[in-house]
């Protein structure tokens, strides 16, 4: 029979329902005493849910400000700024979230949470969920306190191999001893000199193939790390050769010689000469390059350090660097006390004057070579590059004409160029079309007004002729050879076969010994065809040979000495040549655009019309300019986003001596021979008042690794089609490392993305790699990469406590949201059942109801 409760029963059911609902709210059953002391008030405050909600709201605001920053309206429109980076704060994200206001907020919240839970949430099954969530959060907070309180995080740069060079001497009795030993890290272009006398070698890491497929039968197809070292011996009779070393396969070291055969320029010495090693007195080998330090990360928190050591002149500095911690240095903004210390972009707001004064004392006086020397840091620049600028000098300053020229094209395009007459590297613009010269006398000026000319002298035929250069073949391979312009009287037969063409010209090539201009000329003579570098200084003229291209110091060769060619540069390639002198203030302009050069006098800011709608004006001129070297503060919008602190500089003051700008280094190398590609090493030397010299380097704090780590190999895993230079083709990066376990190397251990390795209490992560790279400047070598790795290094105390807290909280949430309703449903069904039972009972005995 269906239950039919009365309307009255329905009301009582609702009353019960409301009562049951109320247990999600804090119990109102607190006994309140009329007089409450401050302790009691505080306790009540910390038992208050609204107080907790307010703390959460504050937390939300604090976190948002620290993370997203602020957006505000200025005359330029909406501006976004990271508040934590402002001058009063100078905090990284990590520091903002470990700053005392945040810690205090969390402490208050934790206290509030604990007290409210204990005082206001009855510990009974329906509330188990809330209790569990709250406990989980408290455990998490405790875990975070352990974790972040002990957090250490940094990175270690580990090179793959070190090249060890030894020069052996053999005694008459046949015993060999190592006479010289020297080492260098393996990186493209690294150089090394070793030995003495005619056993002095110049070594250079010519190329590295990280994935060389081995040829020997035993290891056919195995990939090895191959290092090719160019060996030159300082002896007149010696020839250069290449030595190939394979990491892990010292028995396969062999020499490769230059064959002179165009089809196969390099040949294996083993095949050609029957010996794998052509110079056994030079022993080369590869060893690991273990790293024993890791450097703390500036992205996490400020960890500046100054490294000092005794400077040693002329030779390797074997003094160890001693670290001095710098505390109190900013991170994001520029701090200077005097604007004349820096250069700024004129369109930028001048830097505010906001000096700092941070003393850098010896952190470890026992090991510090200058324990009593206190440095001071009085300036900081977040992002600057050292630049040299010219400023007017005094009347006594040496002659150094510097001009700024503005060239306007027919289309209104403008180009502005700063030219330094006496510096061959910066006296040209637009590939030499625009030049600036200084002449000491009128004769030199007259020479400049002439066209570049070649003078041909054939003494046997009595020929001595000049011909202006009218075209060069550089961009046009089809320029025909021209016969020599010989006097009509010369017999045809005798000159037959002499012809020439000009490939290119180069003015003022800089050498160690000075500068000279050169024309590259191809000549045919009765004996053959030659390519000749014809210099203005005939002593330098030589023919181009294979040897010369390999080694610029190869002996001079003149293939056919019957003809002399001399280059008279005139104005060279320049179509527009600004000339200063002989009077320092005198400026003239030679325009060679038309067939006949024209000369005009120049005064400042007066444009001179050239041919074809071009015009040129000198906007600045200083005959006795002085170069000033200062950091240039790079405008904010021109800063590379990912540069980090790479371009930071500090102004380091040595008491009683003066101040100098010192630039930031990511890593502290001991020697130039330890330096890897992409990392700078440029320590500064400071001379103290007492004459001693200190070498200083500005970098990050470092900690020693519990076990030095070596990079055995580095592997790139790719998607289909192999590595194509596109990042999308890479699937994973793996460093195969070994740890130094008390003198023996551990097993090879792979560290790859998402697969860190724990060793000696620290975790090692794959962090950066060495990608292939083109030559970056003249004289640089291209790199196939994979010569080093950067490992992240971190500890992780308290992680398990944090994880446990999180899991407890999850369990609590599931209980509170999905089990509690089941419990309540049962309770409520029981209540309804009892109400129904009571109703039934009432129906059967109405008297009771009336009573």
């Amino acid at each position: 029979m269906p239950l039919q409760p009365s309307a009255r029963d329905h009301d009582s059911a609702l009353a019960l329902y409301l009562l049951l609902m109320s247990d999600t709210s804090p119990t109102p059953a607190l006994v309140r005493t009329p007089a409450r002391g401050p302790a009691r008030l505080l306790l009540d405050l910390f038992s208050s849910v609204p107080f907790g909600i307010s703390l959460m709201a504050l937390l939300f605001v604090y976190m948002s400000l620290g993370s997203a920053g602020v957006l505000y309206w200025t005359s330029d429109g909406w501006t976004h700024a990271q508040m934590r980076q402002w001058r009063p704060f100078e905090l990284t994200e990590f520091e903002w979230f470990h700053w005392w206001p945040f810690d205090l907020l969390l402490l208050l919240l934790a206290t509030n949470l604990a007290i409210t839970t204990v005082r206001r949430i009855p510990f009974k099954p329906v509330n188990f969920g809330v209790w569990t969530i709250h406990s989980g959060i408290l455990i998490l907070l405790a875990g975070s306190w352990i974790y972040f309180g002990t957090k250490v995080e940094g990175d270690a740069l580990v090179a793959r191999r070190r090249l060890v060079a030894e020069v052996l001497t053999t005694a008459p009795n046949g015993t060999t001893t190592v006479a010289h030993r020297s080492e260098v890290v393996v990186s493209p272009g690294q150089k090394l000199s070793i030995g003495d006398g005619d056993r002095r070698y110049q070594l250079e890491v010519q190329s590295i193939d990280p994935e060389w497929s081995m040829q020997s039968d035993e290891f056919k197809g195995t990939l090895a790390y191959a290092v090719n070292v160019l060996v030159r011996r300082d002896a007149p009779d010696s020839t250069s050769f290449m030595r190939q070393l394979l990491a892990g396969h010292p028995e396969h070291t062999e020499d490769v010689i230059f064959s002179g055969d165009a089809a196969q320029p390099m040949k294996r010495a083993k095949k050609e000469l029957g010996t794998a090693i052509i110079d056994p007195a030079l022993r080369l080998s590869l060893t690991y390059e273990p790293q024993q330090w890791f450097y703390l990360r500036t992205e996490l928190s400020k960890c500046w350090a100054l490294y000092v050591r005794d400077a040693k002149k002329n030779g390797l500095n074997e003094n160890p660097w001693v670290e001095r911690t710098i505390t109190g240095l900013p991170l994001y903004n520029d701090y200077i006390g005097d604007r004349s210390l820096v250069f700024q972009d004129p369109s930028e707001q001048p830097l505010p004057l906001d000096p700092i004064d941070v003393t850098v004392n010896a952190t470890d006086p026992a090991n510090d070579p200058f324990p009593d020397l206190a440095f001071r840091v009085t300036g900081f620049l977040r992002y600057a590059t050292m630049r040299s600028r010219f400023v007017p000098g005094s009347a006594q300053s040496p002659l150094n004409p510097v001009a700024r020229m503005l060239v306007t094209g027919p289309d209104g395009q403008r180009g502005s160029y700063q030219l330094v007459a006496l510096d061959p590297r910066s006296n040209k613009a637009d590939e030499g079309v625009l030049q600036f010269r200084y002449v000491a006398n009128e004769a030199a000026f007259a020479a400049l007004t002439r066209k570049p000319t070649l003078r041909f002298v054939i003494p046997s035929l009595g020929i001595d002729v000049r011909e202006p250069i009218s075209s060069v073949a550089l961009s046009n391979r089809d320029v025909p050879f021209k016969p020599l312009p010989v006097p009509a009287a010369t017999p045809d037969a005798a000159t037959k076969g002499y012809a020439y063409r000009v490939i290119t010209m180069q003015d003022d090539l800089a050498f160690a010994s000075g500068a000279s201009s050169v024309a590259v000329v191809e000549i045919t003579t009765p004996t053959g065809a030659y390519r000749r570098w014809v210099f203005a200084d005939p002593a330098l003229t030589r023919d181009v040979t294979e040897e010369l291209l390999k080694d610029p110091r190869a002996p001079k060769v003149i293939g056919d000495p019957s003809i002399d060619v001399i280059y008279e540069p005139g104005h060279g390639l320049a179509l527009v040549c600004l000339v200063a002198g002989p009077q320092p203030e005198q400026l003239r302009l030679i325009s060679a655009i038309a067939d006949e050069p024209t000369v005009s006098d120049v005064s400042l800011n007066k444009p001179i019309t050239l041919l074809g709608g071009l015009s040129a004006a000198v906007t600045e001129y200083e005959p006795r300019a002085v170069a000033e070297l200062k950091p240039f503060v790079v405008p904010r919008q021109q800063r590379e986003r990912d540069a980090g602190t790479q371009f930071a500089h500090i102004l380091l003051e040595v008491p009683g001596v003066g101040a100098q700008w010192v630039k930031f280094h990511s890593y502290v190398f001991d020697e130039p021979s330890d330096v890897l590609r992409r990392f700078p090493f440029d320590p500064s030397t400071v001379r103290l008042a007492d004459g001693r010299e200190v070498e200083v380097l500005f970098s990050r704090q470092r900690l020693s690794l519990p076990s030095p780590v070596a990079l055995d190999s580095f592997e790139l895993t790719t998607h289909i089609g192999g590595y194509t230079g596109e990042t999308g083709s890479i699937r994973d990066y793996t460093s195969l490392v070994r740890f130094d376990a008390d003198g023996t190397w551990s097993e090879q251990t792979p560290v790859s993305m998402n697969k860190p390795v724990e060793y000696g209490g620290l975790s090692y992560f794959q962090s950066q790699w060495d990608p292939p790279d083109q030559a970056r400047f003249e004289g640089d070598r291209a790199s196939l990469g994979l010569n080093y790795t950067v490992l992240g290094v971190a500890n992780r105390h308290g992680v398990w406590v944090m994880l446990f807290g999180c899991c407890v909280a999850v369990a609590g949430m599931i209980y509170a949201f999905y089990l509690k309703p089941v419990i309540k449903r049962r309770q409520r069904e029981a209540v309804y059942a009892s109400v129904a039972a009571a109703a039934t009972a009432r129906a059967s005995s109405p008297a009771k109801v009336l009573s």
Partner: protein, 602 residues
């Protein structure tokens, strides 16, 4: 009743305005300028066959259709040139480059940059009348569409403009980079060099594929088009591929080029068939499945099926009708339409999974569409549980509205939600990433759905309703509703829609979704921390994305506790649920595009 009608009318108008706005935006995006309308030739070229050819690039093998999509995206951004498919434009640009020299095909995204360019060109035109009589018209159109021709963009007068804009790395350097990339990419030689369509012989997985120009000079029956020598260095072919196969490929390619330049669509189609049949024979073992390539081509040709948003919108309209009028046919129609939309959505997701070979959740496009799909799944499951309660249909409504917004964003904002398929970054290859991102995006979609019901609640409160909230919020509502209702009605017919107010129902829906997202968000954050711990070296780095995920959670913590204390629980829950969704969207949009990429102002 009047108030109810008013509510509905308001919602309806809002939707209509949105829809009209979006379709007109879509029309603007489709009616692109370019060199004329698709020609007869363009419409007769069989792009399906061409599109099925596999191209190697970025470590992936993709269909030519999808490769062309990615490359043309660099040139024309979201615009289609003359209504042509990107695959057509790619080949046309490469084989008839002259037709594009002065065609307005390069897309400049930033309006301020467009203006700088237009001003400089206008000034130059004043000095040089030869620049073209229609220049001011074109520049006006450029201001709107962002499309300009390579000839104009290469004009020397723009060099100083570019230099000035390039100097600002934060705001404009990227825009100039984009213009330069577009100019470089539309070079015929470049386009040809990216056609790595010949597989390496022997089926070696690790060897790069060969460019067509490595093969196209191999002698065969078809004469060499004169343009070949301008396009690439002459080579003798690939040494280790069978010469006859190479000759077949080369012939087909030469035939295609001849026919293309002659405007002979049948010839192109015949050559394309021969080519697409010959290429796999070089290395059948690694050549991708023709079906997969066909589907990839189809998927991109159909705009990744993002037009499904229209079906979702229809479903939203019916479900709103059902909510306001409690009109049963509208409910069933709404659910039916939702089912169709969800089926399309599921199909698109599965297809993308099949094409890319991985679960789609590694870029913004995938995160948004997959997240919306999770919402659909969640809605289906919850609806099964609440089918006997007044809440039925409302989860479908939340999910339909969410998916509509998500797919609309994917459809109309391809600049932000780039649909092209790429490989995942190495750091993302991890099981925890899969779990973490999926759980997080699931929680995000629930948060958005909760905001939909909260917004409906707020509209109801603003128009007809008074203070009302679900007596037992959240999952409790599901479990307890029957008990209470049975008690209230004496065990008779339960779940009468009229038994409770709309406000109560909506608040209940919000709470169900909020509770679920609360747990999932927390769990997702914890899983992210586990992943970060072994990937980055610390479980928590106070990265803005992390902080704002936590901030979203803090809002929900406040919601739970505020609900305990206030009297008007329904109102505060709705307000905080909307704020929570706002913080979540802030994390997704502002943090992704502005804060972490402070240099990507658009």
């Amino acid at each position: 009743m009047i108030a109810r009608t008013l509510t509905l009318a308001l919602l309806f108008i809002a939707l209509l305005v949105l829809a009209i706005g979006m379709t007109s935006a879509s029309a603007a995006a489709q009616d692109d300028t370019g060199p004329g309308t698709p020609s007869d030739f363009a419409s007769r070229v069989d792009l399906a066959t061409l599109g099925r050819i596999a191209v190697h690039g970025e470590g992936r093998l993709k269909s030519f259709g999808s490769h062309a999509n990615a490359m043309m995206d660099v040139v024309s951004g979201p615009r289609k040139i003359a209504g042509q498919e990107p695959a057509f434009t790619y080949l046309d640009m490469m084989l008839r480059p002259d037709a594009y020299v002065d065609a307005d095909v390069i897309y400049v995204k930033n309006r301020a940059v467009r203006e700088d360019i237009a001003v400089a060109l206008e000034a130059a035109a004043a000095r040089r009348p030869a620049m073209g009589a229609d220049l001011s018209e074109r520049l006006a159109a450029f201001g709107e569409t962002g499309l300009l021709s390579p000839r104009l963009l290469r004009d020397p007068v723009l060099q100083p403009v570019y230099r000035a804009l390039e100097a600002d790395l934060i705001k404009t350097a990227k825009q100039i980079d984009a213009i330069k990339s577009a100019l470089a990419v539309m070079d015929a030689r470049f386009l040809l060099s990216r056609l790595r369509i010949v597989p390496p012989s022997g089926g070696d997985f690790d060897r790069p594929w060969h460019r067509i120009d490595e093969v196209m000079f191999v002698p065969g029956a078809v004469a060499e088009p004169s343009s070949f020598v301008l396009l690439a260095e002459r080579t003798a072919g690939v040494p280790d591929i069978d010469q006859t196969v190479q000759a077949t490929i080369a012939d087909a390619w030469r035939q295609l080029v001849h026919s293309w330049t002659a405007g002979d669509a049948d010839g192109v189609n015949a050559a394309a068939s021969t080519l697409s049949a010959a290429l796999p024979t070089v290395a059948p073992s690694i050549y991708p499945d023709q079906n997969r390539l066909g589907w990839e081509q189809w998927y991109f040709a159909k705009d990744q099926l993002t037009r499904t948003w229209l079906i979702y919108m229809a479903s939203v309209i019916f479900l709103l009708l059902s909510l306001v009028y409690r009109w049963r046919p509208a409910l069933w129609t709404g659910i039916g339409v939702f089912t169709i939309a969800f089926a399309f959505h599921t199909f698109a997701l599965l297809l993308r999974w099949y094409i890319s070979g991985r679960w789609p959740n590694s870029n913004m496009f995938e995160a948004v569409t997959t997240s919306a799909w999770f919402g659909g799944c969640g809605a289906v499951i919850i609806e099964l549980l609440v089918r006997r309660t007044p809440m039925r249909g409302l989860f479908f409504l939340g999910s339909a509205a969410t998916s509509m917004v998500a797919l609309m964003s994917a459809h109309f904002l391809p600049v932000y939600l780039n649909p092209n398929i790429g490989n995942m970054m190495p750091v993302l290859h991890d099981v925890w990433l899969y779990i973490h991102t999926n759980v997080i995006i699931f929680s995000y979609v629930l948060i958005f759905m909760a905001a939909v019901s909260a917004a409906c609640y707020l509209v109801w409160r603003a128009t007809v309703g008074g203070p009302a909230h679900a007596r037992a919020g959240g999952a409790g509502a599901l479990l307890l509703a029957n008990v209470d209702a049975r008690a209230r009605t004496g065990g008779g017919v339960v779940n009468r829609l009229a038994a409770v107010s709309i406000g109560e129902v909506l608040d209940g829906v919000t709470m169900v979704l909020m509770e679920l997202s609360f747990v999932m968000l927390w769990a997702g954050i914890v899983m992210g921390a586990i992943w970060a711990d072994h990937s980055w070296g610390r479980p928590w780095g106070w990265d803005p994305k992390e902080v704002f995920a936590l901030n979203t959670f803090v809002i929900f913590l406040m919601l739970v506790h505020v609900r305990l204390k206030v009297v008007d629980k329904g109102l505060w829950t709705a307000i905080l649920a909307v704020i929570g969704a706002g913080v979540m969207l802030f994390n997704w949009i502002v943090i992704n595009f502005v804060i972490t990429g402070l240099h990507s102002y658009a």
